[in-house]
Amino acid sequence: MSNKILVILEQREGKLKRSGFEAASTALGLAKDLNSSVEAVVVGDSISNINEISKYGIQKVTHLKNSDLANYSSSGYTDSIVNFTKNDFDIIILSNTALGKDLAPRLSVRLNAACIVDCIKLNVSGNEMTFTRPIYAGKALVDVKLLSDKKVITLRPNVFKAQIVEGTFPAEIVVKEIADVNLKSRVTSFIKSEGKLDVAEADIIVSGGRGMKGPENFHLVEELAESLGAAVGASRAVVDAGWRPHNEQVGQTGKTVSPSLYVACGISGAIQHLAGMSSSKYIVAINKDKDAPIFNVADYGITGDLFEILPALTAEINKLKQS
């Protein structure tokens, strides 16, 4: 077994996504530990910034190309990648994005490879590898061993660093035209969410809970988010009440997030919510109930009236940004 690694990069609208660079850097680190090599592959039509992968130290990338592959197609992408990898790679690494999450289990079955998703840590000791991932929305962690030589691994976005390698050469780009694309299942269009940023991808999140008292007051959360360049999140209570769309929900039956800053406004901190956000780097809680469980995980808290505090905070941030 050569432990040869394949990184699957992701493009959207003809541009490589950052999460793929994180996977590339992680793969290179792993290759060093295992004394093996890394190649990358990307599926799509034209990709404007494909050269950018060179900066991260990848020396060969294969572009599986067809205009029918511009948008994601689970059948088309799976077939193309399976045909490309054949038996040439032992470890396949992807980012745990919507696309990675869809593709990884399919590749695992088709290539007879064991599959582990949403890893936050790879542990290598000699030739032994284990993978750490959160379960119960982050209430616990497990270390998992994969029992087959072939492995498919997805990495939680924003956890692993994309590292620019100095003094690299432009990567060799091999374009392979895909003749017959299997379009049994394909994406025909994309509807952008109304919110500007998705909680799953945001570096800063401002979330509102029941303490906001009604959907009409959420402009306070939105304005603060706007000033910080943050995504708007919500607790389950306000989503279930219909105040906010479900794609904003953070917690065990919503999204698990780990931004660098999470601002919880009027959120008491039910255990399901805490599970989904307590791995955030910094947490700010604003709540008038000083006994609210959210203060047990918050780095900074203000116990007071958010209708007074939020506008003041937004103004202060705006002042800072202008200075």
């Binding site: 689970s74 209430k139 087959s148 049994k184 039910a270």
Partner: protein, 249 residues
Amino acid sequence: MKLVACVSNVPDTATRVKVGSNGKSIDPTGVTYIINPYDEYAVEEALKIKEKIGTGEVIVVSLGGDNNKETIRKALAMGADSGILLKDEQPRDSFGIAKALAEEIKNQGAQLVFMGKQSVDYDNSIVGQMTAELLDYNCVPICVKFEMNGEKIIAEREIEGGREIIETSLPCIITCQKGLNEPRYASLKGIMAAKKKTIEEKPAASFTPGTEVIKMQLPPGKQPGRIIGSDASAVPELVRLLKEEAKVI
């Protein structure tokens, strides 16, 4: 038309997770098990499709031990027609679950299958896609809107920053996300009727596991931080801390 809805039982989301004595799985003492919340959307969608077509049968399939019967009954009380328990008292990895489900879906000849987008215990979100690959079915994971016209399917799935519209066809597996529908409550009549419906038990198909949990642990606990103040006068200090200490703004 035979419709399959897959359900699993999971610890109530309010559970405070403790590590069991084996160091590898949850301590089940005092844990209440519920139907996996996302599976309720799966049962609801199957029932809706049956009602829309005006004919057909909704079969609930679950993998696990005798405890799962209660979960199957819950789906039967919502209106599903019959249940199948694929018995295996040992926990399985995603591939093992997919193998058992695929085998039974094939047995049933079901062309349309719904299941939750993930179970809220192991959070893998891969069983649907694996099952589909084993059966050579199409699969739309994390579905928030589903429409079927004859064999043709138009579905929406949630991805970063929006929704993808997907065109595909039967046979198909749909993994269900919050927002797809509003699961109905079981009526008293439904609960009574469920008691009379059959739950067939059979051994789950065997498999070779791909993964092994070697250790489970709780994440490092977070220390409570500082309360900076109790009104808007604390705001400048908060902003200073975020900028100078946390360096996140």
